[in-house]
């Protein structure tokens, strides 16, 4: 099985936010939650870069390690998913996550947390693949249909890559060689304890 990863080529991202919108639409993400967002660093200064970021589906995921009810699991494709039936909305995964991926719908007064929601790599959840129950809780399961996450699939500059980690790393390396520069695979060191030489 492939080891699924995200890679955002910051030299190509034009901060159009289409990935953000596509994700919200495809997965019918609850109000107030953005599973993916585009962050612009050094905005307006020379060397400004935009990076599209979501759950990176870490190796040895911190969220899974700290979850007090062990509601996380890693699929055969190395996608980190969780069960909303088991989640108690304690907030621990949010404290531990380096990428700010876990978010909670407000279900009561004072921002009390509901069941955690995060990027699923368009791979749904523990329910039967493609079922209505799965869609309501987690959104689309494109992976089960043989498709990759929509954010990356519709990226206009092909800045955001999703798929087998080795293949997208190879694509990125070729780009770096061809154009002669690259600002690195953002988040890879933190998520996968590896980098792509650039």
């Amino acid at each position: 099985m492939a080891r699924m990863k995200f890679l955002c080529d910051a030299d190509r991202c034009i901060e159009c936010n289409a990935c953000v919108t596509a994700c919200k639409n495809e997965n019918e993400v609850p109000w107030g939650i953005n599973r993916r967002r585009v962050v612009t660093i050094n905005d307006g200064k020379p060397g400004e870069r935009s990076i599209s970021m979501a759950c990176m589906h870490c190796t040895d995921a911190p969220c899974a390690a700290v979850c007090p009810v062990s509601c996380f699991y890693t699929t055969a494709d190395a996608v980190v998913l969780h069960s909303k039936d088991l989640c108690i909305g304690c907030g621990y995964c949010f404290y531990a996550c380096p990428f700010g991926a876990p978010q909670y719908p407000k279900v009561g007064n004072f921002g009390s947390r509901g069941k955690m929601d995060k990027c699923t790599f368009c791979a749904g959840g523990p329910e039967a693949d493609g079922s209505q129950a799965e869609f309501v809780k987690y959104g689309a399961n494109r992976l089960a249909e043989g498709k990759l996450p929509l954010c990356a699939e519709m990226c206009s500059t092909k800045s955001l890559l999703a798929g087998d980690g080795d293949i997208i790393a190879q694509i990125y390396k070729e780009r770096v060689v061809k154009r002669g520069y690259g600002s690195g695979a953002w988040g890879w060191k933190t998520a996968y304890k590896e980098t792509i030489a650039s």
Binding site: G32, V39, T40, I41, I88, C97, F110, G180
Partner: protein
């Protein structure tokens, strides 16, 4: 005429072309062979290295309204993880189990501390109904807060394999609600405890003497004490200061993003957890001495009265004060009844 115009157009066109080529030539020559737009670009390594010294987060600007999403990477989460999964489990296990071991060993060694001269049959009021209500409200909340707090740290290792995922989630979910809602009466209890008993809990000289003589914990010594001895004063200040610490940090966690961001919540959770497990350990000691550890102690908070011989043994100075105030053979209630009756005579 037409021939002349055709020639002129050709010449002007040729001149224009020459001009364009001449102008473009030097510009092309000045361009470097390759451009590196990443030369000046921000790099993740640079930003991460900067954070290694100062801590903090890598953040930028986002166009979506949720300002929290502007955080790109927060490496401190890894530290919080290692605290929560390793350090905290050690601190918790050592303090709670360690206290239990010490108490069991102490009980086996010392047994229940008896009232030396036996019960006199005369009682003195030690805690009135309101004091007892405050104590038991806080205590009942504390026990549930402690169980639910320990569950969220140790439940995964101890209970989850026994209960199975669904049952454990149900149990943990209810304990989370209990933890959140009972924090309110608990906090009120801590505030009231602070107010109603502060007068008797200011450290003074008798505490130095009491501590020097080891509080009579070992041997048959009974250093004199007023209403609260140095050990009880310690419990009081643990409850007041520890209670304030868990309340403040707890509310920061319960109301996410109202007072603090993710770094503040990590710090709050760390303080909350450490103070929490130490609090549990201290309260185990408190429960021990108030029940099986000492004869005649539980009734102080149970019925509100203690035997006079118990008071003489453990709180001689307090008993003398009480006797001076209400008369040696009276209970407070009798005294009050008589004072009330006097004007009518």
């Amino acid at each position: 005429m037409a021939g002349f115009l055709a020639h002129a157009r050709l010449i002007i066109g040729a001149l224009a072309l020459m001009f364009v080529v001449a102008a473009a030539g030097p510009v092309a020559a000045q361009q470097p062979s390759s451009v590196n737009p990443s030369g000046q670009a921000v790099s993740e390594d640079q930003l991460l290295n900067a954070l290694q010294n100062s801590g903090g987060i890598i953040s930028g600007r986002v166009t979506i309204p949720d300002a929290r999403s502007a955080t790109l990477i927060q490496p401190a989460g890894q530290d919080w993880r290692s605290f929560h999964e390793r350090t905290l489990k050690w601190i918790g296990a050592i303090s709670v189990l360690g206290m239990l071991v010490v108490l069991v060993a102490f009980y086996l060694f010392r047994g229940m501390i008896k009232i030396e001269r036996g019960r006199s049959g005369r009682v003195v009021v030690r805690f009135n109904a309101f004091e007892r209500f405050v104590h038991w409200m806080t205590a009942a909340c504390f026990i549930i807060l402690a169980i639910s707090g320990l569950n969220i740290t140790f439940g995964k290792s101890l209970l989850l394999p026994l209960m199975g995922p669904e049952a454990f989630t149900g149990w943990s979910q209810w304990l989370k609600y209990a933890h959140n809602y009972l924090s309110f009466p608990f906090t009120i209890g801590v505030v009231l405890i602070c107010l109603i008993w502060i007068a008797g809990n200011v450290p003074n000289k008798t505490d130095v003497e009491w501590l020097k003589r080891g509080g009579g914990i070992i041997g048959d010594d009974h250093p004199p004490a007023y209403r609260f001895n140095a050990g009880q004063k310690m419990i009081y200040w643990i409850v007041v200061i520890g209670g304030a610490a868990v309340a403040i940090t707890g509310y920061l966690l319960m109301f996410p993003f109202y007072g603090t961001g993710v770094a503040g919540m990590q710090l709050s959770s760390t303080i909350h957890a450490i103070v929490g497990v130490l609090f549990v350990a201290a309260m185990l000691g408190h429960i021990y001495i108030g029940t099986i550890g000492m004869e005649g102690a539980f009734e102080a908070m149970g019925t509100g009265t203690v035997d006079e011989n118990w008071a003489k043994q453990h709180h001689r100075l307090w008993l003398e004060e009480e006797a001076a105030r209400v008369g040696p053979n009276d209970t407070e209630a009798q005294s009050r009844a008589r004072t009330a009756a006097t004007p009518a005579e």
